[in-house]
Symmetry: C2
Subunit: 298 residues, 2 copies
């Protein structure tokens, strides 16, 4: 295999994901239009579409196709977006900007923002169930819904968010910091990578490799996010830079310093890539994605 062209790979998949999201979100003319507009506003505000692309890359790495996992790919983006909408609320991180645009509640009000988040989470599970049913295996549908629910719930994203909020302004242990990062971000990234491989019929060995890779990748992603919050500008990030320090968040750079954090992220990326060995050449896109996660500037 020659040099892999990641920008083309990402771009092609982002286009099909964006088309599918537009098709799968409720039309903003349907009742209630305000809710549907709010859902579309945040989902369509852009973003890297990292989670859906990981779903697709996960499927492709075991011989599947993007088409085969598209509802689940979109579902993971909806779950991610719902979490951002709720995290940005005044009662939580109280953010005015996200992806360079006003946050959902600044445009639609708090009530609609909360409900748009709720509706996106609900729609995500519907889409995952529909997608799983196409594979025609009850265990698969159940595994899929269960794993995503675990990654998104108290044992995953929501649990991480709670500990994150409760750790603001406090001296936390390295264990707590790891809990926050592995739960708040890594769980959903790992679940994205695995979901695609599950639907595409990956073997036990392949799924194990994917799980290890996803875990390391997800943790690296969050550490890089923390680093960018220190180093990046608000303009680059599309969200308020320096918020972590301002809110006295528990972050890797705050705890370990920038240099150690960068080395840790790099080591995790290498670990993620090494975990993919059993998948061979088909995992080239995921390896390239791993490097991209480390090198990104926003």
């Amino acid at each position: 295999m020659g040099a892999f062209d990641l920008p083309s790979y990402l771009n092609a998949r982002r286009v099909v994901v964006d088309e599918a999201l537009d098709r799968l979100l409720p039309p903003d003319t349907a009742t209630p239009p305000s809710l549907h507009r709010a859902m579309r506003y945040s989902v369509q505000a852009g973003g890297k579409r990292l989670r859906p692309i990981l779903v697709i890359a996960g499927a492709e790495s075991v011989g599947g196709t993007a088409e085969q996992v598209m509802e689940t790919a979109c579902a993971m983006e909806m779950i991610h977006t719902y979490s951002l909408i709720h995290d940005d609320l005044p009662a939580m991180d109280n953010d005015d900007y996200r992806r360079g645009m006003l946050t959902n509640h600044k445009v639609f009000g708090e009530a609609i923002a909360i409900l748009a988040g709720d509706a996106l989470l609900t729609l995500a599970f519907k889409l995952i169930a529909l997608n799983g049913a196409r594979a025609g295996d009850a265990t698969l549908v159940s595994t899929l819904v269960t794993e995503v629910a675990e990654a998104a719930g108290t044992d995953g994203m929501v649990g991480g968010q709670v500990v994150d909020i409760e750790s603001e302004g406090k001296a936390v242990s390295a264990e707590t910091l790891d809990y926050i990062h592995t739960h708040k971000t890594a769980a959903l990234i790992r679940a994205s990578l695995c979901a695609g491989a599950v639907i595409a019929g990956g073997t036990h060995r392949q799924l194990d490799a994917m799980k290890k890779c996803g875990e390391a990748l997800g943790l690296a992603f969050q550490i890089v996010d923390d680093i960018l919050d220190v180093e990046g500008s608000t303009e680059q990030l599309g969200k308020t830079a320096g918020k972590d320090a301002q809110q006295q968040k528990a972050t890797y750079p705050a705890y370990h310093g920038l240099e150690v954090s960068r080395a840790k992220a790099r080591a995790l990326i290498d670990e993620a890539k090494a975990a993919l060995a059993p998948l061979g050449e088909r995992a080239v896109p995921i390896r390239a994605l791993a490097d991209f996660i480390f090198e990104r500037r926003s």
Copy 2:
């Protein structure tokens, strides 16, 4: 069949549902304890357990058992509870009391209340998927998750809540009023009744009967709720009475008057009972529940 003893029937099922909820909710010692305490606080605040009992009654009416549908029964209560926690938030109905106790955000703060709602919704889908998988049929699992998601999302409960909020203080049409009631409350009640019958292997004809019954029952339930808000005391209801009028909510009594509302509810209860004809004697508990919904004082 002799006289049916509804109080004993309700009590026996409430006990097993409460036991199952205690087992299925995360332990409040597990990380993060505040989140799990908040989830348990609102789920275990009591309530009639109407939705789980409808799931069980739905299963029983087609020859199934409570044990067979318990995760789904608990899931419907969790979805109901999440919706109450979010509805009570300051940004929405801004309620201080629910089921005679302080609302979730009054005890745990807004951030945890929002996240506890999110976590309950997420856990509900996990439980439904696990329950469906026991039946071993991919179509069934998918149908179950899909129907519950539709009942809970923008085509159901969340959609109804949005139109409800947006209709406050406005003159609404009879159509809008019906939209609010059928979506905000009836959808989840109908889905509860149907979910039990789906898992227990109900026939097409039985599921059709259940759907019609659930729709009428759910609408009647909400009309009675509106009537109780006018006629009941805060003490009786366990939540602030007279809130609807105070918030200029779109309600049946406000639009049609108390007498017409009561007649409408009665007619819907009769319609719900008539729809159960194809189920014969096994549906006696649901018929008794229908009368109970009309006659309840809280």
